[in-house]
């Protein structure tokens, strides 16, 4: 009843964890039944270890939060050695999020992950707003196309391209990912934002600007998912301020085949399991047999 498919990955339900908000899953083992999650997406890894941004890295916004972590991670070698053995044993599909400074780095990362059986898919994070470079890959159709194309060449695993909402034309970027052979797109990553302490007149984040997430971004994310899914033929994964089953269902009606839960994991560590149960209850209540029947089924 709850099954969905993203590329080659068969999910027992459409609820995934958003990269960077669920660590490498082990941190949640006592708080959530990991097996019941549709798929686990791990914190973005890079080729070499990254220290991340200066403190403070987070601050609260109205019904949301700003973060400027800066992709702190230990690099792929450490990930494969220290994190992968545990992830392989969970029994939920594992999707590894990667990011590179250039096309070559994406290529090398994907080539190494391609060899590992227990990894079901790769999410290309071309949309992190917190790294110090000129513009994002996900803000340029040509660069998006090229990164996805390079990774497509090296792997048959499911590729999900994660898009940025900091663009004028989300459909154009989504199409570029589709044309380059991506199996799905996920959106949205965080919105660029900032906050200032008026007493000290200093920015509240060490990096000055950061990414906005949480309930406050939901309406915009929902609109973008709606627009993208209407115009491309690969599955769209909806992300942005999903706090409960109703939010998740809203994204699916707007056109998302699956959804990712981010900031909500910090507030209610068991929220993914609750969302799965809530969607099931909704389907029963409305006598809907298959979840596919609600995907994109917006009545206009």
């Amino acid at each position: 009843m709850m099954k969905v498919k993203i590329g080659k990955i068969k999910l027992k339900n459409p609820v995934m964890t958003a990269s960077g908000t669920f660590g490498y899953a082990k941190e949640f083992e006592k708080l959530v039944n990991l097996k019941h999650i549709g798929a686990i997406i791990t914190k973005t890894i890079t080729l070499n270890p990254r220290q991340g941004n200066p403190m403070p890295r987070i601050c609260e916004a109205s019904a949301g939060m700003l973060n400027a972590i800066g992709l702190q991670n230990e690099g792929i070698d450490n990930f494969l050695k220290e994190k992968m053995p545990y992830l392989s044993k969970i029994g939920a599909p594992i999707i590894v999020s990667i990011s590179g400074n250039n096309i070559d780095e994406f290529f090398i990362l994907a080539r190494r992950l391609d060899k590992i059986k227990s990894i079901s898919g790769i999410e290309l994070n071309i949309s992190c707003p917190n790294i110090n470079c000129e513009g994002l890959v996900a803000q340029d159709t040509k660069e998006t196309y090229e990164v996805v194309k390079a990774v497509r060449k090296i792997t048959d695993k499911t590729i999900i391209t994660k898009l940025s909402p900091n663009v004028t034309d989300i459909v154009g970027i989504a199409k570029a990912a589709e044309n380059a052979g991506s199996d799905a797109v996920s959106l949205v990553n965080t919105f660029l934002g900032m906050a200032i302490d008026i007493d000290t007149r200093k920015p509240k984040l060490g990096n000055i600007t950061g990414g906005l997430s949480g309930p406050c971004i939901k309406p915009i994310a929902l609109r973008m998912v709606y627009e993208a899914s209407k115009n491309i033929n690969i599955p769209v994964i909806g992300i942005g301020g999903i706090m409960n089953a109703n939010d998740a269902i809203e994204f699916m009606i707007a056109g998302a085949t699956a959804i990712q839960v981010g900031t909500a994991n910090f507030i209610k560590p068991g929220v993914c399991g609750k969302i799965v149960k809530g969607i099931e209850a909704y389907l029963k209540k409305h006598k809907i047999e298959k979840i596919e029947d609600i995907i994109g089924n917006l009545k206009i």
Binding site: T21, M55, I58, T263
Partner: protein
């Protein structure tokens, strides 16, 4: 504030904290971290934890409006907690000298230290306590500390109570007047500037020093990487590897 939380109370150690969801709405959205101030009860009857907080913003204002019998969502115990002298025995330089703990509390930094003082006295470790604050009515937990040990010294920045000046000045004074046959371990919690002063004094004297740090937190469980702390062995997380750090490890 006292919370009926038997699971947390039984698992807790001094220096650990809990993440509290102040209400069920999205305002404020994130949980707020608070140290476990005390654990009440003995043995299997342990079931309550206490937190001591200062109202500084939205979240703490909401907490202040709670009434007896209200339910709140608490996640914990989290973090590492203080290392008590006994467990660091093997690291001691001169094994034949007796351990002595000096607890230094600055302002609301007293919150986690009462529980620590109680545990230290239970273990019969000689304990000296220094409490510092801006002014008299901000001196916290004096009674509770005095229950744990008679050796409690106080200073206020404005001199309205105890000796006048920063608590670091008092620390200097105490060190001059007390015997030094002990192997001293210092536990400190308070505002950033004060921590730094105390840590510097400890480094000069080669005292082992454990400092409890405050960083902005989102998750409290080591996944958001928001609470990074720079240490000599790389970036650590205040919520998971801390909030208590061995001061010699920290990069200021």
């Amino acid at each position: 504030m006292s919370l009926d939380a038997p699971y947390i109370a039984r698992a807790a150690k001094p220096g650990q904290f809990v993440q509290i969801r102040c209400n069920d709405s999205f305002e404020p959205l994130l949980r707020r971290p608070f140290s476990i101030h005390r654990v009440k009860g003995e043995g299997s009857r342990v079931k309550d934890i206490e937190i001591l907080y200062e109202v500084v913003g939205k979240g703490t204002e909401i907490l202040a409006g709670k009434k007896e019998g209200d339910f709140i969502d608490v996640l914990g115990p989290l973090g590492n907690g203080f290392i008590l002298p006994r467990t660091t025995n093997h690291e001691r330089r001169t094994t034949n000298s007796e351990p002595r703990a000096i607890i230094i509390a600055g302002g609301i930094g007293a919150a986690p230290l009462v529980y620590l003082a109680e545990e230290l006295t239970k273990k019969k470790i000689k304990t000296i306590i220094l409490i510092g604050a801006k002014t008299k009515n901000l001196i916290l937990c004096e009674k509770d500390f005095k229950k744990a040990t008679p050796e409690v010294y106080i200073s206020t920045d404005d001199g309205t109570y105890g000796s006048q000046g920063f608590v670091s000045k008092l620390f200097h004074k105490i060190l001059k007047t007390t015997e030094s046959k002990f192997e001293t371990i210092v536990y400190v919690c308070g505002p950033h500037g004060m921590l730094k002063c105390i840590v510097d004094i400890c480094q000069e004297r080669k005292f082992e020093c454990h400092a409890s740090l405050e960083e902005k937190m989102a998750c409290g469980i080591g996944v958001c990487l928001g609470c990074a702390v720079k240490t000599k062995s790389g970036i650590k997380l205040a919520c998971k590897d801390g909030p208590v750090f061995n001061a010699s490890e920290l990069i200021w």
